[in-house]
Structures are given as structure tokens and as C-alpha cells.
């Protein structure tokens, strides 16, 4: 029983990390309808961002967010203007190939800039473990979970209580309708892309406190985030969180009680099974067409 609780705790903590990673994708895909296959590489770049800031200023990576968030927002808006804007009306396959090309650019660009060595950040709490009732929880994960909770709370309240947030929801639900009532769709899209990149920045920073970064780390994140977002239901933030938790806890349980080599197999099968029962994901709205 003790071990079971430990597994669940570990699963939930990993789950919040996953949720944090998938949030940016959930927003960009949910609002813009953009299929971003370079998402993992965006996270990789954000991790490098966190690394660079703490390298040059010696700050805690989380404090570095004050610098990174504005930059990410501007980058998101810029990226939308330059690239995403042209893509969102193109067919899906164009999204996939273009973002795939983008991921090449990011990966190999990072390889040239940072070489291929592994980089990481050490913080005062890197080694600290919270020990209670025979359960072990490490601080980097606790802080990551706290960051996730704060970010999610901010996001949900932003989407619910501000005019821009409401406009984002309106656009993501019905683009044409939103246009008709006078919402500047392109502006909203640009803001959503900026917010998406901010989420990615937060996840990158929280990851760098307990992971090492190297140029090809994003390849594996990419599929994971996609599975989570689709499992939870597109455009639904609670869905993304639930999806992340399911996958992380399942990985833990399968890894312990069954086979460590089959953890990914378990969640792929779980994903397929859930989609067979609920074709739009757990929290997905049925039959919505872009």
C-alpha cells in the first residue's frame, strides 16, 4: 500500500509536468487549429532559454521567467505574423510538413549554437527531498507542480474573466461567428500564439530544474504532448490536465507492477481505447469542425 501511494504521488507529480508541457500545445491547437509538430522543439528552446538566463545572471530559472515571458510573448506574436498566419488556412498536411521543417531548423540550429553537449542548471533545491510518512517527494517536482497550478489558475481566470480571454474562447469555438460580432480574429490569434509560447516558456523553465537539455530532446516530448492533448479533448484545459495525469499514473503503475519496457505501450493502447469510446477525447466537444 505504501508503495502504491508512492507510485500515485510520483505519477501525479510527473503528471503535472506533463500537463505543463502540453498546455502550450493545447492553447495553440485549440485556438488556432494549428497542428504544431515542432512543439517538442519549442520546449527544447525554452529549456535552453532557462539555462542561458541562469548561466549569465546566476538567477534561479523561475526568476528568469520575468525576462523570458515577455520575450516568449513577442516571439509568439512574431511567429504568428510570419508563419502561422499563412498556415492556419492551409490544409492540415501543410501544417504538419511546415512545422516538421521548423523542427529541423530548431534542432540543428540548437546543435550549431550550443553544440550537442548536455546542459543543466543546478539550484539550491535540486537535491532536496521532502520526506513524510515514509514517502519521498523531491522539491524540483514540487515547485514544478506549483508553477503548473499557478499557471493553470491564471489561464483559466484569464480565459473566463477578461474580454481578451472571452474573445479567444469565442474565436476558438466559432471563428466566423466571432468575426461577425466584430472581433479582430488575427489579433486574437496572435495573442493566443503569444500565450501559448509563454506556457511553453514556463514548462521549459520548470523542466530545466530537473532535466538536462540537448538539441534532440524535443523529439520525444512532441508525441507525448500530442497524445495528452488529444486524449483530454482539444481546447479543453481541464481535459489536458486529466489526460496528463492518466498517462503519468498509468506509466507508473505499469512500470512497477508489469514491465518497465512496456510503459509507453500501455499509454498508447489506453489512448486508442479511450478514443474508441469517446472519439473526441475525454472532455472533447463532439463533432466540432474547424
Amino acid at each position: 500500500m505504501e508503495i502504491f501511494i508512492q507510485l500515485i504521488i510520483n505519477g501525479c507529480l510527473t503528471g503535472t509536468t506533463y500537463a505543463l508541457m502540453a498546455l502550450g500545445l493545447s492553447i495553440i491547437f485549440g485556438t488556432l487549429g494549428l497542428i504544431n509538430f515542432a512543439h517538442g522543439d519549442f520546449i527544447m528552446l525554452a529549456m535552453y532559454g532557462g539555462f542561458l538566463i541562469s548561466l549569465f545572471s546566476g538567477m534561479d530559472p523561475y526568476l528568469g521567467l520575468f525576462i523570458m515571458l515577455p520575450i516568449s510573448f513577442v516571439l509568439g506574436v512574431g511567429l504568428y505574423r510570419v508563419l502561422f498566419k499563412r498556415l492556419i488556412d492551409a490544409p492540415e498536411e501543410a501544417h504538419i510538413i511546415a512545422t516538421f521543417g521548423l523542427s529541423f531548423v530548431f534542432q540543428y540550429g540548437a546543435m550549431l549554437l550550443f553544440s550537442a553537449e548536455y546542459k543543466s542548471v543546478s539550484t539550491d533545491y535540486s537535491a532536496d527531498v521532502f520526506h513524510i510518512w515514509n514517502q519521498y517527494i523531491d522539491y524540483p517536482h514540487i515547485y514544478g507542480a506549483m508553477a503548473a497550478v499557478i499557471l493553470i489558475a491564471l489561464l483559466i481566470s484569464f480565459l473566463r474573466y477578461t474580454n481578451t480571454g472571452r474573445a479567444i474562447r469565442a474565436v476558438s469555438e466559432q471563428r466566423r461567428g466571432a468575426m461577425m460580432i466584430g472581433i479582430n480574429v488575427h489579433k486574437i490569434y496572435a495573442i493566443a500564439a503569444g500565450i501559448g509560447l509563454c506556457c511553453i516558456a514556463v514548462s521549459g523553465v520548470s523542466l530545466i530544474t530537473f532535466e538536462s537539455v540537448h538539441p534532440t530532446i524535443g523529439v520525444h516530448f512532441n508525441l507525448l504532448c500530442w497524445i495528452i492533448v488529444v486524449l483530454g479533448g482539444i481546447g479543453s484545459i481541464p481535459g489536458t490536465i486529466v489526460g496528463a495525469m492518466i498517462i503519468a499514473v498509468l506509466e507508473m503503475l505499469v512500470g512497477y507492477y508489469f514491465e518497465p519496457t512496456l510503459t509507453t505501450f500501455a499509454y498508447f493502447i489506453m489512448f486508442l481505447a479511450i478514443l474508441m469510446i469517446r472519439p473526441s477525447g475525454i472532455f472533447g466537444i463532439k463533432e466540432r469542425r474547424a
Partner: protein, 442 residues
């Protein structure tokens, strides 16, 4: 009109097709350089390590060139091929051999890629100098001109098992058969052939007690479940074999879940980047036993010339690539030691890149452990050997214990620098005072 258009389209397409073909520059033969092909993964997921090996080889070539080159002052020029995946491994090898006309190839680091690259080199009768592909089966494929400078999986694995019996058990003051050993490795060709087919097999022969034999998916983000599974068996020794990513995660999760084995054996490369590891784990890195094919820490036991050569390599490496770390990672050293052995001991004696002459030289080669920074020495098995054809039979591994960002060779006995210290204290209490070390230095 229609016909004219059709012709136009066909011509355009053919032109488009031919264009990239024509732009592969043909090699100019007869210049005063010796062309040597280097085939390594330089892009894609294996690039981090492939690039490190390449750096080592580049430094070795620079050193030889600055000393005046080989054979009547000819300089070595390296031509690289990028073996990122199976097709590119095949086409790039073919390109190096047929377009660039190289007569000798160094590479390819990964066993999986070696299975594809070696047959092609063999087809053209090109000498292949393998730096570190370890899979045993590679030695049994009947490629006459392929030489393996690094150790083979079964040899490496069984040496690791011997290390448990010879070094660790006496230190823990226990009968080796009483020790509980957990074996964890990534579920890849590399992991399986070393840990499962090498270490576990030998351990069973020696009658050691393997409590868990667990391959894992290297993409796992959090290893807590595996660690808890290992923790339940309460092992004295954890033998891990992994790359950087999974290695760091495994160690991180062991620490976080309070798995405190008396000995943590790291077989493979993560702890080779010792600065990065200390950056991540701080003092908790102390006492880790790093089993590897490169002895950075045993410089003092080498012959004076090899010693100064290795120092020069470290110096040049840090300068050339602007690396801050003092110790080169094991992959750079693997690239360097393999290449320098070839440039120094084989090529000058052979006088040309002719496979027959190289084979003669390699067969007669017999160098003691003091003549290379790779542990063991150099002596190749004949190509007629059914099990280890072309294998450097003296290639071995050394065990180094890590204390405060430094490696100290502890095994095998004749090249040991200090006495190993086991059991390791639990995580969090692993700070180590360098003064204690001075007493241990032999």
C-alpha cells in the same frame, strides 16, 4: 504544341533531378594528403555522441599533421560522412568509398549502424577501423578488413562481473555470492548485448546473485516505478548501463526515492561528463563507480611518451573546441585513442592504405598497456578467429571511482591509483573531503 510542352516538362524534371547529382564534388587524387573517411552519426538523435567521437579523431589528426604527417610528410585529411539513420549510413559510406575514394574508414560508434556500414566497407575491400561498436555478432560476420579497437560486449560485461568479485566484494567484506545485484539497462541492442549477454551471463557463471534483470524504455521520463521495483529487492549493488538522458533520470529518481545501494556501478557514458553530472547532483555523485573503456585517470601509469601525448590531446581539445572542462568526456577520448593508435602504430608501418599491408602490420602488433590511454593495450585477434575476428583482445575496461569531480582509477589492480571506498553513504551524506583521499593514494 502539346508535344512541345511535354518535352519541356520532362526536360525540366530531368534537369532538376540531375542538378544535385552533379554538385557532388569529385575528389582530386594525387594531392599530398592521405584521405581518411570518418563515418559517424552527426545529425539526428545519436549526434551528441557522434560529434564527440569526431572531435577526438580531429584532434588526433591535427596532432599527427603538426608533427609532420605520415609517410614523407603527407598530411592526413579527414572526410566525414553522416550516418544519422540506416539509409544515410548506407549512402554516406558508399559516397565516401566511391565518390571520395577513401581507402580507410574510421567510425561508426553505434553497433546498430555498424551492422549496416561494415558490410559495405567489406564489399569494396576497404579497411574499417571501428572505434567502439561493441556487439559480439559484429566480430562474427566474416569481414576481413574490419578491426575493432574497443572491447566487445561479452568481454566488457564479464570484466564488470569480475570487478564485482575482485574489487567490490572484498571491500564490502562479504562473500560475492551473498551480494544482491540489480541489473538495469536500456532496452537497446547496446544495452542488451553488454548487460544481459555480457554481465548477467558471466555473473551467473560466477554464481553471483542477480535479484533483478530489468531492461527499460530509454524514453521514459520518470523512472520512479522502476526504482521502487529495484528498491523492493533491496540490492547491495546496482549495475546500470545507459546513455546520458536516461542515466541522469535514473540517478535522479534513485536519489529522490531513497534507493541507497552500497555500490552504484555506472557502465556506459553518463558519468563521463563529470562536470555536468556534478552540476546536476553535486556531492551525491561521489562514490559512484564508473566502468568504462577509457582511462582518463590513469595517465600516470602510462609510458612517458603516451603520457605527454595524452596531456597534449587534452590541452588541444580544450583549446580547439573552447571547452571549459579539464577532463575530456569518454567519447572524445575513445575517438582520440582509436585514431591515434591507427595513425601512430599502424599506418606508418604499413606504408600505404593497402588492406593487405595493413593486415600484416595489425597482425604483428603487440603493445603493452602503457602505450595507449585506452585500458589494456593493443593486440588483435587473427581474422581466422571464429568468435572475435579482428578484435583487439587486450582492450578492456577500467573502474574509476568519482570523488569531487575527479576520477580515480581503482581497478584493475595494476593500474589502480587509490583504494576504492565502499560502501557508499546514503544520498545527502556523500560530501567527501579531499584530505581523506591523500591517505588512500598508493
Amino acid at each position: 504544341m502539346k508535344r512541345a510542352f511535354t518535352n519541356y516538362v520532362v526536360i525540366t524534371m530531368v534537369c532538376l533531378f540531375i542538378l544535385p547529382f552533379g554538385s557532388f564534388a569529385m575528389a582530386d587524387a594525387g594531392s599530398k594528403t592521405v584521405k581518411i573517411g570518418v563515418i559517424l552519426p552527426l545529425t539526428g538523435p545519436q549526434a551528441p555522441i557522434g560529434r564527440e567521437v569526431l572531435r577526438g579523431i580531429e584532434v588526433a589528426a591535427d596532432m599527427v599533421n603538426d608533427m609532420g604527417g605520415i609517410w614523407n610528410k603527407q598530411k592526413i585529411s579527414l572526410v566525414t560522412g553522416d550516418a544519422a539513420n540506416s539509409e544515410s549510413a548506407r549512402t554516406e559510406t558508399e559516397r565516401l568509398i566511391t565518390v571520395e575514394k577513401v581507402k580507410l574508414l574510421i567510425g561508426v560508434y553505434s553497433s546498430s549502424l555498424a551492422f549496416i556500414v561494415h558490410p559495405i566497407a567489406d564489399k569494396y575491400n576497404v579497411v574499417f577501423w571501428e572505434t567502439n561498436a561493441i556487439a559480439d555478432r559484429l566480430r562474427q560476420m566474416g569481414h576481413e578488413n574490419t578491426y575493432f579497437f574497443g572491447p566487445m560486449a561479452s568481454g566488457w560485461g564479464s570484466q564488470a562481473a569480475d570487478c564485482v568479485v575482485e574489487l567490490i566484494a572484498p571491500k564490502l567484506k562479504k562473500d560475492p555470492k551473498e551480494l544482491k545485484i540489480a541489473v538495469v539497462y536500456q532496452g537497446t541492442e547496446w544495452g542488451k548485448s553488454l548487460s544481459h549477454d555480457g554481465f548477467v551471463k558471466r555473473a551467473n557463471e560466477l554464481g553471483l546473485n542477480i535479484v533483478i534483470d530489468a531492461p527499460y524504455d530509454p524514453n521514459t521520463m520518470d523512472f520512479s516505478s522502476l526504482i521502487l521495483k529495484i528498491k523492493r529487492t533491496n540490492p547491495d549493488i546496482v549495475h546500470t548501463q545507459n546513455y546520458l538522458d536516461d542515466g541522469y533520470r535514473l540517478f535522479r529518481d534513485a536519489r529522490k526515492n531513497g534507493l541507497n545501494p552500497k555500490v552504484w556501478i555506472a557502465d556506459g557514458c553518463p558519468w563521463a561528463y563529470v562536470d555536468e553530472a556534478f552540476q546536476k547532483f553535486g556531492d551525491d555523485m561521489n562514490y559512484v563507480l564508473d566502468l568504462n573503456q577509457v582511462a582518463g585517470g590513469n595517465i600516470w601509469s602510462l609510458s612517458p611518451t603516451t603520457q605527454s601525448q595524452y596531456r597534449e590531446f587534452l590541452d588541444r581539445y580544450t583549446k580547439k573546441y573552447n571547452v571549459k572542462s579539464v577532463a575530456a568526456s569518454s567519447d572524445v577520448a575513445v575517438g582520440f585513442t582509436s585514431a591515434i593508435a591507427l595513425f601512430e602504430h599502424v599506418l606508418p608501418a604499413a606504408g600505404s592504405l593497402d588492406p593487405k599491408k595493413i593486415a600484416e602490420v595489425v597482425n604483428d602488433l603487440s603493445l603493452p598497456a602503457t602505450s595507449t590511454a585506452r585500458p589494456g593495450g593493443i593486440k588483435f585477434a587473427p581474422q581466422s578467429d571464429p568468435v572475435q575476428a579482428g578484435q583487439n583482445i587486450r582492450a578492456g575496461v577500467v573502474a574509476r571511482q568519482i570523488f569531487n569531480k575527479k576520477y580515480y582509477t581503482v581497478w584493475p589492480k595494476d593500474s589502480a591509483e587509490i583504494e576504492a571506498i565502499f560502501p557508499a553513504p546514503p544520498f545527502g551524506k556523500r560530501a567527501f573531503d579531499d584530505k581523506n583521499l591523500e591517505m588512500l593514494i598508493k
